[in-house]
Symmetry: C2
């Protein structure tokens, strides 16, 4: 397209680090020293420090043939923020580890970093350090996020109690539906490079896949309403897997109802278009980065009219099975998914 592309080797390691340092000035009062020494130096707040790490690998977690680098940078931050949110915490800082193949240009790196910066700005995060190296092949990203949680407010997976109400935010299965569409359009394009991808009507689910948001808005709302969930987890591997984490860690079982599962019409229609069960998209799709949490019954009144929180079931005694009740009234046992990545 006539754009001049610059090999990263032209600016070298120190040039790239200087560029990143200039793009990401430290803003938090707690960041005493960000990029530029052997380690970052942070002043801890009054609460606990929360720490989480997520990896994103080309060819496993993302496909650069249809993933805009700006979105990828945003998503890499958002998925880590989602883990801090799931502890009822507030994100503060990230470190960024990048492995870059030699085909990567400075311009590509800038687009990626702009996405990282957009997410940092949106979530109020400082980029405080990291490591950049070449890779023999492929692009990979490792982010560690640090956050803060007040001692009494941190929510674990293990606090759900019998009769608690199971809540989930937003809608589910959309990211997986979007992935299916993107993969299909990629195959069409490979077979006929003249064909333009038809993504217009799938815009919502494609966005869910490429640029998810961490639900910090919900965390802030719950704080305003003085509601502390009894257990919480973010929906990264699919609802079924996350429900089982809460059930197992809390030593309870769960009962959810198909009719209450939130699914967007486009997600539903796309599943049908692919001859797949929409419920499978919701239960096992993954990458929605919504929040799954349990609340005590007394908190239900405060939340019951919330437009973006859905009440999908309740917590029951461990002796009961983990159950999905279908629209037809059948009871289906909820099974753990295997490890897709290593299988």
């Amino acid at each position: 397209m006539g754009e001049k592309l610059t090999p990263l080797s032209d600016i070298g390691e120190f040039g790239l680090i200087d560029k990143i340092k200039a793009m990401f000035p430290a803003k938090h009062p707690s960041t005493k020293m960000g990029i530029g020494d052997d380690a970052a130096v942070l002043k801890p707040g009054k609460g606990r420090t929360l720490v989480t790490t997520d990896l994103l690998l080309e060819g496993v977690h993302f496909d650069l043939s249809y993933t805009p680098l700006h979105h990828l940078g945003y998503k890499a931050v958002a998925v880590n923020v989602s883990d801090i949110a799931a502890m009822n915490g507030t994100p503060r800082q990230i470190t960024l580890g990048l492995g870059i193949s030699s085909k990567f240009t400075l311009e590509a790196m800038e687009r990626f970093l702009e996405g990282v910066k957009a997410a940092c700005d949106n979530y109020g995060i400082d980029l405080i350090g990291g490591d950049i190296t070449s890779s023999r092949k492929g692009f990979f990203i490792s982010i560690t996020a640090l956050g803060e949680g007040l001692v009494g407010d941190i929510v674990y997976r293990n606090g759900a109690k019998v009769n608690d109400i199971i809540c989930v935010t937003g809608d589910l299965g959309g990211a997986f539906a979007g992935l299916n569409v993107l993969e299909r359009e990629k195959q069409v394009f490979i077979q006929n490079p003249q064909m333009q991808p038809k993504l217009d009507k799938y815009q919502y689910i494609v966005q869910r896949q490429l640029k998810p948001e961490a639900r910090m808005d919900i965390i802030h709302e719950l704080r305003e309403k003085k509601i502390v969930p009894t257990a919480m987890i973010d929906v990264s591997d699919g609802l079924a897997s996350e429900l089982l984490h809460i059930a197992n860690d809390s030593k309870v079982s769960i009962r959810v109802f198909e009719e209450n599962l939130p699914i967007d019409k486009i997600t539903y229609d796309t599943a049908v278009e692919f001859n797949l069960d929409p419920v499978t998209f919701v239960m096992n799709g993954g990458e929605d980065y919504e929040l799954l949490f349990t609340i005590s019954q007394e908190d239900f009144e405060t939340l019951k009219n919330h437009p973006d929180i859905h009440f999908i079931g309740f917590v029951q005694n461990k002796k009961e099975k983990n159950t999905l009740v279908t629209k037809g009234g059948n009871e289906v046992s909820i099974q753990a998914q295997g490890w897709r990545h290593l299988q």
Copy 2:
């Protein structure tokens, strides 16, 4: 060898995480929640929190054909601890990110994790979380280390003052000498697989390459002697590069003397054997993970007889050039190395 090898997919994601959780019980009082939730939960100490991230990639940072996995696990932790040491801090926790190719077996993973554990035990660190995923090709490791430093004791790169004495621990160039030997023996083996590698007389430098130690021993000794360096950095990219970091960040220049540079006899002999200049090994070799620091003249008396701290030069006004004085009395300007990885 008759050893039964188990594909990692046999135990699955949750099986592997359970295994790691059992291998790494949290020991620090500051670790309130380690592996097993969306994020780890730490109780910060009185001081500042130090954070550093290092990546190690197969084919770039290590070669599995001659790197024992146990040593690799150890080294991956040690190089991060070295960064915490270089801030005059104490390491507390790490997160571990792993990308694993499908050829990796459970037994290989166990050997790697045993190395990680040996380092964690040695340095008094808790493994508190991370992320494990498949990679399309190759093994890669991302570690983020958290440490603590007391407010007045943290040492940056930017504190060196004119007339300060430049100190370095241990000896330099050994890791690079070891790498040269390992690469040569690998080539010999590729050409003639019947040949056994001859590593006996190179044992010290091979060890320097494969299983470096972070110099926490020196950090503890300096504390006992109540010496706070004015600037400090760890020697990971070669002495020349680290000297320039201190000079540039401290807005001073440095003058070092070849005759004072610490080099082990095996390192020296190996450089000569490869027809290379031993000084180049010291100045640009990298991966020694020794500590380079500056002290005020009044602290010299306390350290002058230390058997493992070497006084290689002094800090001078920024107007002077960064200079290496050779044994023959010539003055050589110290140049920054480019970025090996991206060039």
